[in-house]
Symmetry: C2
Subunit: 282 residues, 2 copies
């Protein structure tokens, strides 16, 4: 690194020396950090939490977390997302059933369904006598999915900064029609993903999962179609073994098999469903 | 609030008393916080930053931020996103031109294009002799958009925790074909949004934008189709006036007009483009 850049790095609070908090980096990449990552370390330690303690998460805290979600960027301030919390035990069991019966959906102190939401905009348009034909476009579906995910992840970062644990639930898309019925979603609203939230059970270890090397996902100036994943298959195989996961398939093999037509778990109907709801029709 | 819940709240580090750091909440909602939000306050203060100082952002720091991005949750660990940084001045000017000539794209110390990426998975599938027909489904497009947005927002939360400023660029979708060409995106990769990053210009104020009331976006048990936005139109009108923005339209009027067919700025072609790239064909 050039001297000037090293000075800039020092001024920015980073240095070439591995930081004392580099364990998360090691877990992600299988090597010591090339730079001091202490300052961003809290953002490297995410793991999915599926087992929660009995300690309650008060509503006041959730109120603060929803404010964090709403503080995320949103395209043109249109705020094309909403969230529905499901706390009633009978209804929660029904959500869990719709989400492949995942235990964390049933047991988490809080469950949130994040939804793409054009209903408010369609209402606003009707009041000013404008059609809302723009909402029919894939662009507006994409915008809503981005808005919802940005909001959720800011809420998650805030929650994790307090020691809370979370697990996203993609299985909310397994039975989009069922979710629509349970949550009373009108036209122009569709469930995107769930979020389980609570204090982690201290008796359950939640490992940090290795990720692809940075060079596999961060390209400079232009994309390199030559796929290189370095030692990732080896690292993930060790991780699977450490976690007692059966099978000796590598990440590449698992992932390659995962994208055939037989692992869609109901989600093959998603395009038809969202189009019926008024999304991505053209 | 019930006594038990107040105790739980206190134990969780929140109380009924407004916190000393409640200014961000006031800016968002136009009222003092009903709970102590001090602990999540850093996550409430996001604002878009379009003017940056000359202070450089060293590569080492970006490396740490990309690690934060990669630490976000990703569906089934498939990691269906990538990021392309564009730093070459000539290429940056070209990106800016593709993004409605927004000055922050041209001037930000760093610019990142976040892309939905199925290229790696298609490659992995071909190596194990599996077709990758699942990738054709809207489900996998949705998954990639969520993955990319979660990654970006974790990177943004990490960056903002260090004092950096950011601005998302939805205009990366204005000319998807042009972005594909400039960034050398292969089949099964599509640009989703840009991200400008740098130290904020200390001479430029970046106000925190008001948001809809929580009751408008957070529903309990089920969605309420009766649209209520409280005093939001009044609050946003005051905000527009304070910012010297011309026109007396309310948020509802602006948003209602924004979703007609005439504000798509090239993005009306998005569905056709992503289908040609191999996304959301069915």
């Amino acid at each position: 690194m050039a001297n000037q850049e090293a000075q800039d790095a020092a001024a920015a609070g980073v240095s070439e020396e591995p930081g004392p908090l580099g364990e998360a980096w090691v877990a992600r990449y299988g090597e010591t950090p090339p730079v001091d990552v202490a300052e961003v370390d809290p953002f490297l330690t995410h793991r999915s939490v599926r087992d929660f303690s009995d300690r309650p998460v008060p509503r006041a805290l959730v109120t603060a977390l929803v404010a964090a979600a709403q503080s995320a960027a949103t395209s043109s301030n249109l705020q094309t997302w909403s969230v529905v919390s499901v706390q009633d035990p009978v209804r929660r069991a029904e959500v869990a059933r719709l989400c492949a019966d995942q235990r964390q959906v049933r047991n988490a102190p809080w469950f949130f369904a994040f939804v793409a939401d054009h209903h408010r905009l369609a209402h606003a348009a009707s009041r000013v006598g404008e059609d809302a034909l723009g909402l029919d476009y894939c662009e507006f579906y994409t915008m809503a999915v981005i808005d919802a995910a940005l909001a959720a992840e800011r809420m998650v970062c805030a929650a994790e900064s307090l020691g809370l644990g979370i697990c996203y639930i993609g299985a909310l898309r397994n039975d989009a029609e069922g979710v629509k019925g349970l949550l009373n979603l009108p036209e122009r609203v569709v469930g995107l993903f769930g979020l389980c939230l609570g204090w982690p059970d201290p008796n359950v270890a939640n490992p940090i999962k290795p990720r692809l090397p940075q060079s596999s996902v961060w390209f400079e100036e232009e994309y390199d179609p030559l796929v290189g994943i370095g030692d990732y298959d080896d690292r993930m195989s060790r991780f699977y073994a450490e976690q007692g996961m059966k099978g000796d398939a590598t990440w590449s093999m698992r992932s390659g098999r995962r994208v055939d037509e037989h692992h869609l778990t109901g989600r093959e109907a998603l395009l038809k469903f969202i189009q019926e709801q008024g999304f991505s029709r053209r």
